[in-house]
């Protein structure tokens, strides 16, 4: 299922699952990720699944590229239905203070904001990966009519909880961070909680997400 395995530097393995970005390929990546994680191989110190790649980094004091490659090639891959995924609703407020780029999107996409929200809310999204900053989920797929490029000049500070769009994906800024995605709203939910060491992430790869629109009043009174 892995198309090609190569080395990324001297302390990581680069597993290539293909060029396309879709649920099927990503599900394979996640399956490999979970399978390797389950094996608990001594010397492997990090796994980074993404849309269609999986990076396995290791401790060069304990293990090397050839050894890790052999282990990955001979791995037992667990079935899809063996790993747990969740369906999660994410409340989002699109009040003007929060939807920082809605005007820009109306211009680029040439549809009005009601249409944008109609195509965004209530639809099922799939979590492809989490990362860049702690806990940030990359969710897809947006309908073609909502595909927009990222801001030419990224914001220095995107507020915590911001929900952004870029190309076929949506994401959520888990804390204040620089960023260039088109912001359409904000969630009062805490998506990443570092005090929960076992499960800091609300959203994990493979999960299904549905965004639900809330009013500003509901946002202000939101209780987790």
């Amino acid at each position: 299922m892995i198309k090609n395995i190569s080395n990324l530097g001297d302390a990581a393995l680069y597993c290539d699952f293909g060029k396309e970005v879709n649920k099927e390929i990503n599900s394979k990546v996640i399956r490999y990720f979970k399978s390797i994680q389950k094996e608990n191989i001594d010397g492997i110190n990090n796994l980074t699944p993404s849309y269609n790649k999986l990076i396995v980094s290791f401790n060069l004091r304990k293990i090397n590229f050839q050894m890790v490659k052999r282990k990955i090639e001979n791995l037992n891959i667990i079935n899809d239905d063996k790993f747990e995924t969740n369906k999660i609703q994410i409340p989002v407020c699109c009040d003007e203070n929060f939807s920082l780029d809605i005007k820009r999107l109306e211009e680029i996409l040439k549809i009005n904001r009601d249409k944008i929200y109609e195509k965004f809310f209530g639809k099922e999204f799939f979590c492809y990966m989490t990362g860049f900053i702690a806990g940030m989920p990359f969710l897809g797929d947006l309908e073609n009519e909502l595909h927009a490029k990222r801001l030419e000049t990224p914001r220095v500070k995107v507020p915590k909880g911001s929900v952004g769009l870029t190309e076929q994906f949506a994401n959520i800024y888990t804390f204040e961070s620089p960023g260039g995605w088109n912001i359409i709203g904000n969630t009062p939910l805490n998506i990443f909680d570092s005090s929960k060491e076992k499960k800091p992430n609300l959203i994990n790869p493979g999960d299904t997400i549905i965004f639900e629109r809330i009013t500003e009043n509901q946002y202000q009174n939101y209780n987790e």
Partner: protein, 315 residues
């Protein structure tokens, strides 16, 4: 409240608690972190009789000025660092790679690093700090680790839980050396760059930009020409990866890097050169040299042996 503590009279530029970093969290977006210069981190602990991976204070350029209160304690500093110890009205110029015993009322002034970026301060004992995911390493971006994930601040207090009983003075005869040539294994997107671009990368000089920190080192120099695409579908990163964004200027991922990135990877710095790379100050010259994987593995073994050897020389 602990009776042994430092009062921070000046925090310095980027003073944080670090240890050997945290593993197995890339997939949720949390980088490795840990001391940037791993060898100097291990040596400083050994000099004060600690376990090698004990948390220490890492500083960049200018370190903290600390006033000590409590029982006698050993400290040591590694790197290439100017520092003084003031006792009553006597000022002593400190030497790196040598332990000193601090007494109640002493002031330790870590003035500056000398033509390098990072230095390390260890105390013979244990700081009273919080661990997250079995590491105290501070990641200021996600506010993870000791000190609420923040840099040290002026006027705060750093408590010491435990002091090592052995106050013998250990030292090591060691001089940090500098390198200009950074050895690199070709990256997974090497073929995104034109023949000219590849030549530029391996033959021309680059300079470390001021816009460098624990997350990444930006370089300036001739532009590296891309002929395929200046973006890739976002994928994982590791420390040492050299990405080239649309402007053609390389960025090297360092210990606090974002875990996912969307720029083509032209190369990866070999593990054996990482400690020396991070010590290059803004304006320093860098030349990249291509190397094969098997040679990189051998060089790492040599680097590791040399480190072990230095550790065993400390008595």
């Amino acid at each position: 409240m602990s009776k042994n503590y430092f009062k921070i009279l000046r925090a310095g530029i980027n003073s944080t608690f670090q240890d050997d970093g945290r593993n197995n969290l890339y997939h949720i977006g949390i980088p490795f972190s840990g001391a940037m210069d791993n060898r100097n981190f291990l040596l400083v602990n050994k000099l004060v009789g600690n376990k090698l991976k004990n948390p220490v204070i890492e500083f960049a350029y200018q370190g903290p000025l600390l006033k000590y209160s409590g029982e006698k304690i050993n400290i040591a500093i590694t790197g290439d660092v100017n520092f003084t110890i003031k006792r009553n009205n006597n000022l002593l110029n400190g030497i790196c790679y040598q332990a000193y015993t601090l007494e109640h009322g002493d002031e330790l002034d870590i003035i500056s690093t000398n033509k390098s970026v990072y230095g390390y301060l260890a105390v013979g004992g244990e700081f009273d700090i919080k661990y997250q995911w079995s590491s105290c390493s501070v990641n200021t971006k996600a506010n993870i680790g000791a000190n609420d994930g923040k840099k040290l601040e002026t006027n705060q207090r750093v408590n010491i839980l435990k002091i090592n009983k052995d106050l013998g003075i250990k030292k090591l005869d060691y001089l940090n050396t500098k390198i200009e040539n950074i050895r690199v294994i070709k990256g997974t997107n090497f073929d995104y760059f034109s023949e000219n671009g590849k030549k530029t990368f391996f033959e021309k000089e680059f300079f470390v930009s001021k816009l460098s920190d624990r997350m990444g080192m930006r370089l300036e120099g001739p532009k590296i020409e891309n002929i395929v695409n200046t973006n890739i579908k976002s994928e994982g990163l590791i420390k040492g990866v050299i990405q080239v964004p649309a402007d053609g200027n390389p960025i090297i991922m360092l210990s606090d890097h974002g875990t996912i990135g969307g720029y083509p990877k032209i190369g990866v710095v070999i593990s054996a050169d990482y400690d020396k790379l991070v010590q290059l100050t803004p304006g320093s010259k860098i030349k990249f040299e291509e190397i094969e994987l098997s040679n990189a593995e051998t060089l790492f073994k040599l680097y590791d042996l040399e480190t072990q050897n230095l550790i065993s020389q400390i008595r």
